[in-house]
Amino acid sequence: MMAQNLQITAAAPDPALLDLPWDVPLEEWPADVLAALPRGISRHVVRFVKLSGRVIAVKEIGESVAYREYELLRQLRRLDAPSVEPVGVITGRRSPDGEPLEAVLITQHLQFSLPYRALFSNTLQPDTATRLIDALAVLLVRLHLSGFYWGDVSLSNTLFRRDAESFAAYLVDAETGDLHNKLTDGQRSYDLEIARVNIIGELMDLVAGEFLDEEEDTVAIGAMLVERYEELWTALTDEESFTADARWRVAARIERLNDLGFDVGELDIMTDIDGTTVRIQPKVVDAGHHSRRLMRLTGLDVQENQARRLLNDLDAHAAATDRQNDEESFVAHDWLTQVFEPAVRAVPRELRRKLEPAQVFHELLDHRWFISKERGRDVPLAEAVDSYVTDVLRHRPDELAVLGASGLADDA
């Protein structure tokens, strides 16, 4: 190998990175280092690569663009925006005969995430598209609240994780993005328009590939994103005014935002001079109301709707054991060690690549409800676990590392 003058920029560089064949164009990387080939036509060459027991995504891209995207992804992580984790940038690559090769941007593969194409390829639930759109609307609102203009919102540039009965969306590609202090209405509306057109295009492509029924109204699904986004944006940011004697509406607004999964970090309250009208407007809102609460109580780090479900079970547990007046954190600790952990640990090791523990627990609760109804009695959790593992989980695909889009055999 000719001496290469590799420059590695990474927050926590893994020495194993040096063993990868950087002197070979990504397109020609040997199969034994690859975890899978990505599907679909991308602007850049992208490969999923095995590294120290994890999977990383490597993308060949111009040097300045690579550094820019790396920095943006790091900033997004700092802002707690749902996005993939950047690993680093490598420049100075050369082939053995001295030919310079493109820089690469490396990101961590998001475990248990699913590309949208994978969700359409197997057993398709009728409302998959709707649930994906909901997740994307939440993601876009969160990014916009953080001042991030995406510039290329699409299903392909997003990864989805199961989140109880819905999905949580993560940004994968920030190449066209920009971080601002505050977005203008023009930036938000244009981003939304790009999203609408891209989503409809992607759904039309699924129809053309016969992964989605021709009867589906792709244009209406795209329009739904705009609608969901506007609803959520309004709920989170709108100014509301009422007479001074209706002050309960301040608390009601905060509760409404909590229900939507957001905490209010800062609320502007303004009264007019004679004090008869009060206007309130949330200034800082943070997503993750339920996941933060669960984290505080149990240390479990899960997604928002999973957290909602687990918290409900925690409340049910407190009621069933008649401990509603006990210190909440004590009850939570007992629930964690006596309910959650035993249930999750009862899943055989070889099946743990199928779903995240919190998602398993969510499905388990559903399953228990289902068999309890079927058997006409309250099935205890331990019994439900056996039935769930045998009848449900065992038949599910592994979702720890779904790369590309399984099942789309005709993709290049």
């Binding site: 036509i41 493109e102 202090n181 505050k182 509306s189 244009y190 790009i194 992607e202 039309m204 492509d205």
Partner: protein, 375 residues
Amino acid sequence: MATVTFDKATRIYPGTERPAVDALDLAVEDGEFLVLVGPSGCGKSTSLRMLAGLEDVNAGRILIGDRDVTDVQPKDRDIAMVFQNYALYPHMTVADNMGFALKIAGKPKAEIRSRVEEAAKILDLTEYLDRKPKALSGGQRQRVAMGRAIVRQPQVFLMDEPLSNLDAKLRVQTRTQIASLQRRLGVTTVYVTHDQTEALTMGDRIAVLKDGLLQQVGTPRDMYDTPANVFVAGFIGSPAMNLGTFSLAEGYAQLGSTKISVPRTAVTALGADDNAKITIGFRPESLDVVPAGTPDSIPVLVNIVEELGSDAFVYGELTGELGSKGLLHSGAGEDQVIVRVDPRKVPAKGETIHVTIRTGEQHLFHAGSGLRIDA
């Protein structure tokens, strides 16, 4: 088709005092290819985004044709941002990949087909229309992406550094393609780049910005031959113009014992803030290599010779009594002089050559304001 008018358009970012774009007055003709160029932070991208509707306009107006679009949503401005996204859909034909936005907009099938066919003809994609993108080369895929913008028949194309993530070879190729395509289509285009070569080779006219202020707008020839100020003079042209500021005495700019004659009209044009000094610029090709001892010649120590075949450039520094005094600068740096020499008679590195400025080819500027003196 339409004109584009920036009418004292100003953008001030919240929390900042200095406008990112300061009262920009710029009229883009119908069908014109206008390039906004300048160093980073000059306001070129902000100007483009104001036109696109992505940045608020804090003062002034923006018009597309006769229509004031200052407060119109981006999607209702009838503009197309080109190259933003060229992910193609694998299961759809090339024709569907180009026409899907029209389908979303509810256009009739026959109209979509005819617009797609028309665009395909211009883009040399006719024979691929019914194939899948998989069958296309990289360049063809990029043309399909352009086709998406073309079929929408927007009033204005906007391009923000579209070539920045291409490698050098593809950049030159695509540059030519975009320029010739734009001329065939005749759609008004505003193009942003930091690269003055891109600006010179592509634009019908160029607008140079610095610190949010428009410096000059004109044809590539105007910008090169009659730069309006020192900044434009140094920014446009590659290799860059040599510039120096000199004391003026008895109608001559004094460069040590070397004297450069300055026309009388220029001398009289100087004002108090010029402090009896004048800035003179001369391009590398405006210097003649002369024998040592020629009156008023400037000695240059050769550091590097860049041979390009048709041309050769000497990158050198002033030497002798003129050396290391910060008298001159060029794109190559302080005390550096760039000289175009006969490619068949290149001097060796370390040699000293003598040059004179060709009569009438110097550019004169006020030492105070930096503005051009027309003499």
